[in-house]
């Protein structure tokens, strides 16, 4: 054993702590050979004796008797006020129950709040859930370009990803106020396919462009036309596929 290792065990040695017999023997042998470490051990032993003497001197000290009386009085007074203390387990479960009840209350409050503030035409929207699920956001295009320019520039439309992720916010309330107005104030027909295609292909996503058409266009799709307003325009949403082809149309009022 060297002096550094001896320093690590000298306190334990002086305090008579449990040590491996071999380690203890090595430490004592080192202190026999090294004068500095022997002195170090002596100091530690003297400190231990001094501390033991202090502990022995204070061993008989106790708190004054009046403290016990005060405590008993306080205890009896407390028992008079609180007849049955709450056991530990019960108090913990009470906390948990209170926490769960609070969470349920919050959840119910949020649900009720949302239910009472939902848009009035939500049933219609629910009815239109049969329509393409990834219904894109609508952007009004001021110039009708359906016939002449089926591909629309990206500046006028919001791009729709083929498989957009479900955005929780879009189910709560549209962030865009303009879109919200469209949704809440307009009545639209179902999308009418413009070519021979399955309804499923409408679900592939795409872009919707708001256009205006002559009211007579309604007749082309078998819809009734008010002849008094024959010359007026009618709004329609044209759904373009990802390849730029017009796939379906719906009329908006």
């Amino acid at each position: 054993m060297n002096c550094q290792k001896f320093e690590g065990v000298v306190s334990e040695l002086a305090r008579g702590q449990m040590m491996a017999a071999e380690q203890r023997g090595e430490a004592l042998a080192h202190s026999d050979a090294c004068e500095d470490c022997a002195m170090r051990l002596r100091d530690e032993e003297m400190l231990t004796r001094g501390l033991h003497s202090l502990a022995a001197e204070m061993e008989s000290l106790e708190a004054p008797a009046n403290i016990e009386d005060n405590l008993l009085m306080a205890f009896r007074a407390r028992q008079a006020v609180v007849p049955a203390p709450i056991p530990q387990r019960r108090s913990h479960s009470a906390y948990w129950l209170a926490a769960v009840a609070a969470m349920l209350l919050i959840a119910i409050s949020v649900f009720v709040f949302r239910w009472t503030n939902r848009p009035v035409d939500e049933p219609q929207q629910a009815g239109r859930q049969e329509e393409p699920q990834r219904k894109p956001q609508i952007v009004e295009n001021p110039t009708p370009q359906l016939a002449s320019n089926p591909t629309v520039s990206g500046d006028d439309v919001l791009p729709i990803h083929p498989k957009p992720k479900r955005n929780r916010a879009s189910f709560r309330r549209p962030a865009n106020a303009q879109v919200a107005n469209h949704v809440t104030n307009e009545i639209a027909t179902d999308f009418i396919p413009l070519s021979y295609m399955s309804t499923a292909s409408l679900q592939d996503g795409g872009q919707i462009v708001r256009v205006q058409l002559p009211r007579s266009a309604l007749a082309n799709f078998g819809l009734p036309v008010n002849m008094d307003r024959y010359n007026e325009k009618v709004k329609a949403d044209v759904l373009f596929g990802v390849d730029g082809t017009a796939r379906a149309i719906r009329f908006v009022q």
């Binding site: 003497s53 502990a55 204070m58 708190a63």
Partner: protein, 214 residues
């Protein structure tokens, strides 16, 4: 106290601290009495050795057992003994009280009036008796002058004879931390006691009583 009550107390004397605490929390004042009598001295001495003040030690002892009455249900037997729990509560009260005292008036030698006079042994010769008392007083002052984190390990491990493991529970630290703090605390104590020059001689006199010829 009637004979029946005394018999009941004797029966309860065999109960463990945890059982007494449980009974106490159920409203049994005898359990409180027994638990208090069993543990008050350790708590009181711990507070006294930590603070050096008799009044603080008394207040802390009372506060610890009041806390036990009020919040004893927070004790978890899986985390340690009732004794360790009480020391932990006492430690918090002492440190809080010392912080307040430091703000009002720093502890100094004048506070020694508050400390009970240590009774020297009567079976020693007068010179040795005197030397021993001086040694104890020097050690006591040295312990009190230690920073709190070192003082508490010295008080628990050296003066209260609490194991390293239990000390670690009380202080909420690892056993290795207790060991290293104790090592450092002892080095500080030696450094404080060595310059006086009397420590070595006094300790030697205490141990080797054969050298006393008075």
């Amino acid at each position: 106290m009637t004979g029946g009550q005394a018999g009941l107390m004797n029966l309860k004397n065999d109960l463990s601290d945890t059982e007494l605490l449980r009974s106490m929390l159920a409203g049994d004042d005898e359990a409180l009495t027994l638990l208090y009598r069993r543990r008050q001295a350790g708590v009181y001495r711990f507070a006294l050795q930590m603070s050096g003040s008799k009044s603080i030690a008394e207040d802390v002892t009372q506060e610890v057992f009041l806390f036990l009455m009020r919040d004893g249900h927070v004790f978890d037997p899986a985390r340690g003994s009732v004794s360790a729990f009480l020391f932990g509560v006492a430690r918090n009260f002492v440190l809080r009280r010392l912080r307040v005292e430091q703000l009002l008036a720093p502890l100094n030698d004048e506070s020694d009036d508050d400390i009970p006079v240590l009774q020297a042994g009567t079976d020693l010769c007068p010179l040795e008796d005197l030397t021993r008392a001086e040694t104890i007083e020097s050690v006591r002052k040295a312990v009190l002058s230690l920073p709190a984190k070192y003082r508490e390990v010295v008080v628990l491990c050296e003066l209260q004879d609490v194991s390293y493991g239990e000390t670690a529970e009380i202080l909420g630290c690892a056993i290795g931390t207790v060991r290293s703090r104790l090592h450092r605390a002892r080095a500080l104590l030696l450094a404080k006691l060595r310059p006086v020059g009397e420590f070595e001689e006094a300790s030697s006199a205490t141990v080797k009583s054969a050298r006393c010829f008075a």
